[in-house]
């Protein structure tokens, strides 16, 4: 403190605050504190909006490309198919069929194969039923191996025999296999698949009989976690029998000593028949004997897919690149086009109807303007459902408009106009509903245009039209722009009104999204459609922000 001179300056000539710190630093600290306080005030809401709004939207974006269901349900098949060259029109090799058998077996036990079938059916019609049937008939292949083995030695009928072979007990266990099979079931059933299983695979058996150990472990975890039964006493799935026979063909059991080694060696010596997987699949359904389903699985096996987006624009991903959907399935681009055109028509009619009103509001006395404004605000405040039902009452065959027209005699009773359940109904009702959103921004712009400009123009010899068109109209364009973008953004995503008064011809893309969410359950496609719509709206939003500024939005 000693180096402070009496005039509040330190030795270097810097200005000091009352407590002796340099004023600059002290001010910066105060500023920082203020910024922090402002941020803290905003933080709760920001976190709330991020969590409950931005995250859901982001998760929707993610869902439109997410495609892990194929590789989660058929992990080994996807791996084997990766080595198959789909361009030769031959069937995939035998290991693919074998992997498919084991994958499908687990998936069918977990009842997840139908879900994958539904997913792939979006890309290739018919796969859904193929998967469903295969899931039902899969046991037959397993029985081909199970029966001879059990007939050969009845000890194989006993679940404890199997448990003794594969359970590690005190011997070293294969932790890797356990972990990978737990992971497999977790991804397949979206259930944590944790918890005590009362089983761990024996390391040396795993090495000797890899497929059987793999299948047995999957079965044991599934039995313990999903069925909540003890695997020690129960018979394994047929697929484990099949895997064991397969392993015994190649395994070298000579050095093996462990529980039931005699049984295993005897079974190997018996040289039991191995099922021919490709033939068995062809027997189940002749479609498996064609490359089509395999190509579909291979094409859509990636963790992420552009398939939903391609579907959203009436295209599809095939094994040789992107192609258009068949003619009769191309509806979405048309629907996007219709949504855009109808939104433009609605925006246009809102401008036509809103401009005179806004002009009137800004050119009458403040008292009258307030009264007239109430006529605009009343529809604005009235429930959307009320206005939509009002239009249903007005427009239907026996509705008010038709009754009046018939009463006046403009329309014969037998030929009442069809005003509802078509594009006309949607356009009229939505123009009415969105008109206040056009009038209010226009009014707020027009009320700032001084009326003297018009008079000045006229006094200098302009005609009424020239004065309006060259002087007034250019100044009112910001209002038209603001209102148009607002109305366009709102109308492009409208759902309720088109759903009720639009019938089948007057619906928007949003109705299609709702259909895919609640009826067809093709959520990926719904998310892709939503994402495309969102991009369009955000672009318009950006334009709105540039033209009007988002802080300038006013209500009422």
């Amino acid at each position: 403190m000693s180096d402070i001179s009496a005039d509040g300056l330190d030795a270097n000539g810097l200005v000091l605050a009352a407590d002796g710190t340099p004023l600059k630093r002290s001010l910066a600290r105060a500023m920082r504190r203020q910024k922090l306080r402002a941020l803290l005030l905003v933080a709760p809401l920001l976190i709330f909006v991020l969590l409950t709004f931005i995250v859901p939207i982001a998760s929707m974006l993610f869902r439109s490309v997410e495609n892990d269901i194929v590789s989660n349900t058929l992990p080994n098949t996807v791996q084997e198919l990766g080595r198959w060259d789909a361009s030769t029109s031959e069937l995939p090799p035998e290991p693919v069929f074998e992997a498919m058998f084991f994958d499908m077996f687990i998936a069918a036990e977990a009842k997840r194969h139908t879900r994958l079938g539904t997913r792939l059916n979006y890309e290739q019609t018919g796969i859904s039923s193929l998967f469903r049937q295969t899931g039902r008939k899969l046991d037959d292949i397993g029985k081909v191996t199970k029966k001879p083995l059990e007939a050969f030695d009845s000890a194989w009928k006993d679940g404890e025999t199997w448990y003794a072979i594969f359970n590690a007990g005190d011997a070293p266990a294969s932790k890797n296999l356990m972990k990978s099979q737990r992971g497999l079931l977790k991804r397949l059933t979206s259930d944590p698949a944790s918890g005590d299983v009362n089983f761990s695979p024996r390391a040396d058996v795993t090495k000797l009989l890899p497929k059987a150990a793999r299948e047995y472990t999957a079965w044991a975890i599934f039995t313990a976690v999903q069925d909540e039964k003890d695997p020690a006493t129960r018979d394994p799935w047929e697929s484990v029998y099949t895997a064991l026979i397969l392993d015994l063909k190649t395994a070298d059991l000579s050095g093996y000593t462990g529980p039931n080694e005699d049984l295993l060696k005897a079974a190997q010596a018996a040289d039991l028949p191995v099922p021919a997987f490709s033939e068995a699949f062809a027997d189940m359904d002749k479609d498996w004997a064609t490359p089509v389903p395999w190509k579909t699985i291979q094409t859509h096996s990636g963790l992420y897919t552009s398939g939903y987006f391609l579907n959203a624009i009436d295209a599809q991903k095939t094994d040789d690149g992107v192609a258009w959907q068949p003619e009769n399935k191309q509806i979405l681009l048309k629907l996007f086009g219709r949504t855009l055109i109808m939104s433009l028509i609605i925006t246009g009619s809102c401008i036509m109807l809103g401009y005179p009103i806004a002009w009137l509001l800004s050119n009458v006395s403040a008292r009258n303007a307030n009264l007239l404004l109430i006529l605009v605000l009343l529809p604005f405040w009235t429930s959307l459902l009320v206005r939509t039902s009002a239009w249903k009452v007005m427009l239907q065959q026996n509705g008010v408009i038709n009754e009046v027209l018939v009463w006046i005699g403009l329309v014969p009773d037998a030929e009442r106009l069809i005003l509802i359940n078509n594009q006309f109904g949607t356009i009229v009702a939505m123009t009415h509903i969105l008109l206040p959103f056009m009038i209010l921004p226009m009014y707020s712009v027009m009320s700032t245009i001084p009326p003297v400009y018009l008079r000045a123009a006229k006094s200098m010899g302009a005609t009424n039209w020239t004065a309006f068109w060259r002087v007034y109209f250019p100044q009112s364009i910001p209002g038209i722009g603001a209102g148009s973008i607002l109305v366009f953004i709102l109308s492009i995503g409208y759902y309720i009104t088109p759903e009720i008064v639009g019938g089948t011809k007057g619906v928007f893309i949003s109705n299609r999204i709702a259909y895919h969410i609640s009826s067809s359950l093709n959520w990926g496609l719904a998310a892709a459609l939503g994402t495309i719509l969102l991009v369009v709206v955000l672009a318009l939003y950006w334009a709105y922000d540039r033209i009007v500024g988002i802080d300038n939005v006013k209500l009422g």
């Binding site: 203020q34 910024k35 306080r37 402002a38 005030l41 905003v42 709760p44 809401l45 920001l46 709330f48 909006v49 991020l50 409950t52 709004f53 931005i54 859901p56 939207i57 998760s59 929707m60 869902r63 109807l353 005179p356 007239l372 006529l375 605000l377 009343l378 529809p379 405040w381 009235t382 429930s383 959307l384 459902l385 009320v386 206005r387 039902s389 009002a390 249903k392 009452v393 026996n398 009463w407 005699g409 206040p436 953004i489 995503g493 309720i496 009720i500 999204i513 709702a514 969410i517 609640s518 959520w523 719904a526 998310a527 969102l534 709206v537 922000d545 802080d551 006013k554 209500l555 009422g556």
Partner: protein
């Protein structure tokens, strides 16, 4: 329009054709209704022109002419159809009497600038007619459903009895249905549970954030504002789609891990979703109020020893209260009127009033919907009044309006 133009009587050569044109327009309606539009136009024009001539040249007394016109028209209407038409016809008679004298005395120029050409005067009134038609377009659909909700029949249309003003054709049975039907009552209750809670969340968080946003040292103001406004800009169907995926996971978490009942978790989901939708309205109205707020008031309070909390509740809050309340009303009406998100996020246990109306309109149409709609129109008129009063109060407080 303070300029008062001296007015003078107009010649018959102007009044008679103009009045006749107005009469012809009305005649067209009646004529097409009864067979021939052309005869209607000619008859209407002739009748009104004759009446105008009679009033101006023969009677010469405006008060007497008024009563003759009303009674005469009403009498014709009564003979033709009955009481209802007599009232309508009386009103029409009043209108034509007013029109004839308005033209004859030149009153139409009284409030216009004196130098306007006849063409400009015609445009002035023509424009007002166009605007009137647009206002009718705006208001009619809302007014039409109100009488229909008292329909004694289960129809969505006006019955002949209703048009005759027959008391038997009207009844309160749709209102009775609304107040006794379990489904409607349950949905009403759900709406009244969900909307207030959603409003409380959005108002409390929104006001706090608006106060922060209006401080001059707010960093990243534009970005934060864009994020907070986004629920209003993103189309509802997209918000609903996103929320559908997210909230079903959240619901599973609440039910399985936190052990909540399905119904309770459902309410929480819908309330959170609606709160987020209401937030932009609170932000916009409260920041708009804060623009006019004099920050030196808070400094003065702090100077005199008030803590930040005291300053906020005793100084700032009372001044921005109108904005907060109208923001809250917007948030309330957003939630109360919302269908799409609740359709996707909620389950049958959270069926709200708009949802019930939506299913009613889509499937089983019952006129109870119109009774509900009428109630909602009354509610919205009340809300509109409150918001309007608050807006004026706020402008007065901030000295922005001379009123």
């Amino acid at each position: 329009m303070a300029a008062l133009t001296p007015i003078s009587r107009k010649p018959l050569s102007f009044v008679l054709p103009t009045a006749a044109a107005a009469g012809g327009g009305f005649g067209l309606f009646l004529g097409t209704g009864n067979g021939s539009g052309l005869i209607g136009v000619l008859l209407g024009a002739a009748v009104i022109a004759a009446i105008a001539y009679g009033f101006i040249v023969v009677i010469k007394n405006e008060g007497l002419a008024k009563w003759i016109s009303i009674v005469g028209f009403a009498f014709v209407g009564y003979i033709y159809s009955g009481v209802a038409l007599a009232i309508t016809a009386g009103l029409i008679g009043m209108f034509y009497h007013w029109l004839i004298y308005w033209l004859y005395e030149g009153r139409y120029r009284a409030k216009l600038l004196p130098y306007l050409t006849p063409g400009q005067v015609a445009w002035h009134y023509g424009f007002r007619c166009i605007a009137g038609v647009i206002f009718i377009f705006l208001i009619t659909p809302i007014l039409v459903i109100i009488p229909l909700s008292f329909n004694a029949q289960d129809f969505f249309t006006y019955t002949p009895g209703m048009l005759r003003l027959d008391p038997d054709a009207y009844s309160l049975k749709h209102y009775q249905d609304f107040f006794t039907n379990n489904e409607w009552q349950r949905s009403m209750k759900n709406s009244l549970i969900i909307a207030p809670f959603a409003t409380i969340i959005s108002v409390s968080l929104g006001t706090l954030a608006a106060v922060g946003l209006s401080q001059s040292h707010m960093p990243f103001k534009g970005t934060i504002m864009a994020i907070l406004i986004s629920p209003m800009i993103v189309p509802l169907i997209i918000s609903a789609t996103g929320m559908f995926f997210f909230y079903s996971d959240l619901g599973n978490f609440m039910e399985n891990t936190l052990g909540m009942s399905k119904n309770f978790a459902g309410y929480i989901k819908v309330i959170l979703a609606h709160a987020v939708l209401g937030i932009p309205f609170v932000i916009i109205t409260v920041t708009a109020t804060l623009v006019g707020f004099d920050q030196s008031l808070t400094r003065a309070a702090a100077n005199m020893g008030a803590g930040p909390l005291t300053t906020f509740f005793r100084i700032q809050m009372p001044l921005i209260l109108p904005g907060v309340i109208s923001g809250g009303l917007f948030a309330f009406i957003t939630s109360f009127d919302e269908v799409v998100v609740v359709l996707f996020v909620g389950s049958a246990g959270q069926k709200t009033l708009p949802w019930q109306m939506f299913t009613g309109l889509r499937e089983q149409i019952s006129p109870t919907i119109l009774a509900v709609a009428t109630i909602l129109v009354v509610v919205s008129i009340c809300l509109l009044t409150v918001v309007e009063l608050l807006r004026r109060r706020s402008e007065r407080l901030r000295g922005m309006s001379p009123a």
